[in-house]
Amino acid sequence: MGFKIIVLAKQVPDTRNVGKDAMKADGTVNRAALPAIFNPEDLNALEQALRLKDRYPGSEVTILTMGPGRAADVIREGLYRGADKGYLLTDRAFAGSDTLATSYAISCAIKKIKDFDLIIAGRQAIDGDTAQVGPQVAEKLNLPQVTYAEEILSMKEGIVAEDDKYGVPHAKLAEELDLKINGTLEIKRRLERGVETVVTPFPCVITVNASAPNCRPRNAKAVMKYKHARTVTEIQDQSEDYLDLTLDRPYLKIEEWSVSDIETDTKWLGLSGSPTKVKKIENVVFQAKESKRISNDEAELEELIVELIDNHTIG
């Protein structure tokens, strides 16, 4: 037994340490000025995938990322932590993609990968904070989706013929929605005011919250094993040592797909497929506009509490 899990990961500029030159004059991100990192919530997503792999031996974790050539680093980072392989989707045709064009390209790549049980992504990336790509991928692939996941409680193979313990009629739903069902997942979601446990058939898409467990560290042996993993472009670049290693060791070859490797309608790609246009960027400086002094006595504190409850600051 074992499941095939795809983790969607994105290389992002590290917006947690932003300097003055973080934005260019045209309102786009100046990637050169910011270190590129593995999007933090995608690491939470990877950890969920790796936990499933620990729990269900024989499972396989694949990283899928879209970005410039150097985004291959994200795949290597995934391999260092326990992923089995990775695909880099890279092409000038994808440049300028907003979330819609991105999710379209990614869904096309997933159609080519074809064989999978589960797609896990971080809730959102720290550069755009949209939280749209995961759900859009689900829609484009006609898959159920569970957002804000914090923990995958169980993953069971096979169709539940009867309604499950929560009364969900899986078989009937599958028929109505034209879903292919490999099994069911039980997932804990972190919502604003509590947690919710849901059951979903899979294949499906899950997006994971930052409140989920942190990703495990890189593993020393995996780092040494995969540090020479390269994409075709990196190999052709010739600037790297140990290039012939990929010939003897196929696991060191990171799959690189361009637009010609996947089936797409090019008008939905890149800038032409992106309805989002940045109209204006504004510098927002936070400042305290009103302040209020409250003296340390029961009556005024009481008043403050009532006010905070009324305006839903606490409750």
Partner: protein, 568 residues
């Protein structure tokens, strides 16, 4: 988001010492593992790159997990539940992270699922872990025991126990007993051989055992009935799965509180003999303790690093009399001297580690093939030097870790005395380093042979001949002067021809040798990297004055003067 490896360029400087090329080539037997293991290096550069990448993992775990956990671990500590030691929550988190990262069998051969790293990067990892939490390194660093199993156990034992340690099980070394502390010859825990099932059984009590409930324990026990000294002792492996040992209590300690220090009662506990009978103390424990002393050196330097950083940060931020206190001579002298001692300690740590690397690797090679005469000679030479340098390192750097913790706390003033700053914990943690694995006084007993046989001077003369840029020659002249003064002092003491007289002055002489050795090592570091020049200057200034005061004491002292010191 801190990384304790990359935020400290001194570590990479020591990692990339020119001697590493030789060490790596020996350790990797000219890179023959690369066809058998997918994580073995292709060549020297590849190996060095791997060490660096792995140390980055250590640095990240220490910065992001171990250091932030240190305070809660210090408060919570371990406890006994159903005869089992349960670590503090943070300790378990630290351990899980390092186990998941595959950092438990760092120096073990790949066939036992280790990383096959030399001692230098392993000790560097210990240096980093100690800076994050000096108490935690005791648990993680007990993987040293695996090195002893690898050296002396038989193939069957190695293949059963070593992969378990590589995959995350912890170890313990069970030596001390209520009446056998510094004097291990007095160990009484009884080992009896049962003819019927052909097994050894252990009975008795061990005390002050770090991580006493570890999975795999090396136990020193009396296997020869009727004997009283060290020659009746053998070494055994005890497997916790036997469940035949009771953890009677965990000590309530002043520092390193996260590390469980256990009292153990062995009740007919089945155990396996390691190597030959009667060699337990004479050979195996000596090797085990030498490894452990190197580890305490790393722990001391990690503490020095932490103490220095805390002191520096506080002195820059704290303002009194209208300016940051670091601008006052009394404070900046303390800090720059702390930095000099830190740099001196660290360079001695890695010099010693390199010596151990070379001789130990030759020793392992000699089990595979006969060594060439030149190789054998080199092995002996480095082994001898390592035997002199290990007690020097452990003795002097553990004292420095205490001094740095003291000075750093002093810089903090009243705030340092409160629990509000980490220095209070660091100060308590430092205290044990000059006590366990042999007190400073016992390190001096081991090191004095290096003084009287000329071991230190021989090495010092080698340093003297090394190439230096012209602007550094002045420091060398000072060190040559200090060497003459030292040689003269040694002669004065030895010429009295009285053992008690030598013992009386031993610490003074060992410290004099240490100041010269560390002065030279700093000077050689400066030859490679200008940034060590300040520490070199400060350390030599200090060492010169300290040595002169010791020499003066010796030259104005006679055998009769000892009498006054006995009236206590």
């Amino acid at each position: 988001m801190a990384n304790f490896f990359t935020d400290n360029p001194d570590l990479k400087f020591h990692l990339t010492h020119p001697m590493m090329e030789k060490i790596v080539a020996l350790k990797e037997r000219n890179f023959t593992d690369k066809d058998k293991f997918d994580y073995a290096p292709m060549d020297f550069e590849d190996a060095m790159d791997s060490y660096e990448k792995v140390l980055e993992i250590v640095g990240e775990i220490c910065g992001d997990i171990v250091a932030p956990n240190a305070e809660s671990v210090d408060q919570e500590g371990p406890k006994i539940v159903d005869n089992e030691v349960i670590y503090a929550k943070g300790t378990q988190e630290n351990l899980d992270a390092l186990v998941n990262a595959g950092l438990m069998g760092i120096t073990l051969p790949r066939k036992y699922e280790g990383l096959n790293f030399p001692i230098v990067p392993y000790i560097m990892a210990a240096d980093i872990v100690s800076r994050a939490d000096a108490g935690f390194v005791n648990i993680w660093g007990l993987q040293d025991c695996a090195e002893t199993i690898n050296e002396f156990a038989d193939e069957d034992q190695k293949s059963r126990f070593l992969p378990r340690i590589s995959n995350g099980e912890t170890a313990a070394m069970d030596l001390t007993e209520p009446d056998a502390g510094s004097d291990l010859q007095a160990v009484q825990l009884k080992a009896t051989f049962n003819e019927e099932d052909g097994k050894w059984y252990l009975n008795g009590v061990k005390r002050f055992i770090t991580n006493g409930d570890g999975h795999v324990s090396l136990v020193l026990a009396r296997s020869e009935e009727g004997t009283q000294d060290g020659r009746g002792l053998s070494m055994f492996i005890y497997d916790r799965n036997e469940k035949a040992v009771i953890v009677r209590r965990i000590e309530n300690k002043m520092g390193i509180k996260g590390s469980p220090t256990c009292e153990l009662v062995f009740k007919n506990a089945p155990a396996e003999l390691v190597g030959s009978r009667k060699m337990g103390l004479i050979k195996y424990v000596m090797a085990l303790m030498n490894g452990a002393r190197l580890g305490i050196g790393a722990q001391s330097i990690g503490i020095c690093e932490a103490a220095y950083r805390e002191g520096l940060e506080y002195a820059k931020e704290r303002e009194q009399f209208g300016k940051p206190i670091i601008q006052f001579p009394a404070v900046y002298e303390m800090l720059s001297t702390m930095k000099a001692k830190l740099d001196a300690s660290r360079t001695l740590l890695y010099e010693t580690s390199r010596m151990v690397d070379i001789y130990k690797t030759y020793m392992h090679i000699s089990e595979e093939r006969k060594l060439e005469p030149a190789e054998r000679k080199e092995m002996k030479r480095y082994q001898k030097m390592a035997d002199f340098f290990t007690p020097l390192l452990k003795g002097l750097t553990s004292e420095y870790s205490n001094q740095l913790a003291y000075d750093s706390l002093q810089i903090h003033g009243g705030s340092g005395f409160m629990k509000d700053y980490p220095i209070e914990r660091i100060y308590r943690d430092a205290r044990i380093t000059s006590i366990y694995e042999g007190t400073t006084q016992l390190q001096v007993v081991a090191a004095i042979r290096g003084v009287t046989t000329g071991g230190y001077v021989d090495r010092i003369r080698e340093y003297e001949l090394m190439e230096l840029r012209p602007e550094l020659h002045g420091y060398r002249r000072t060190l040559i002067g200090m060497t003459e003064e030292y040689v003269h002092a040694v002669k004065t003491v030895v010429d009295v021809k009285d053992n008690e007289y030598v013992d009386f002055h031993a610490r003074r002489l060992v410290e004099m040798a240490g100041h010269i050795v560390m002065g030279y090592l700093l000077l050689l570091d400066t030859q490679r990297d200008e940034q060590f020049k300040t520490s070199t200057e400060i350390y030599i200034n200090m060492g010169k004055a300290e040595n002169t005061s010791r020499a003066e004491f010796i030259h104005n002292f006679t055998l009769d003067d000892i009498g006054a010191y006995k009236h206590v």
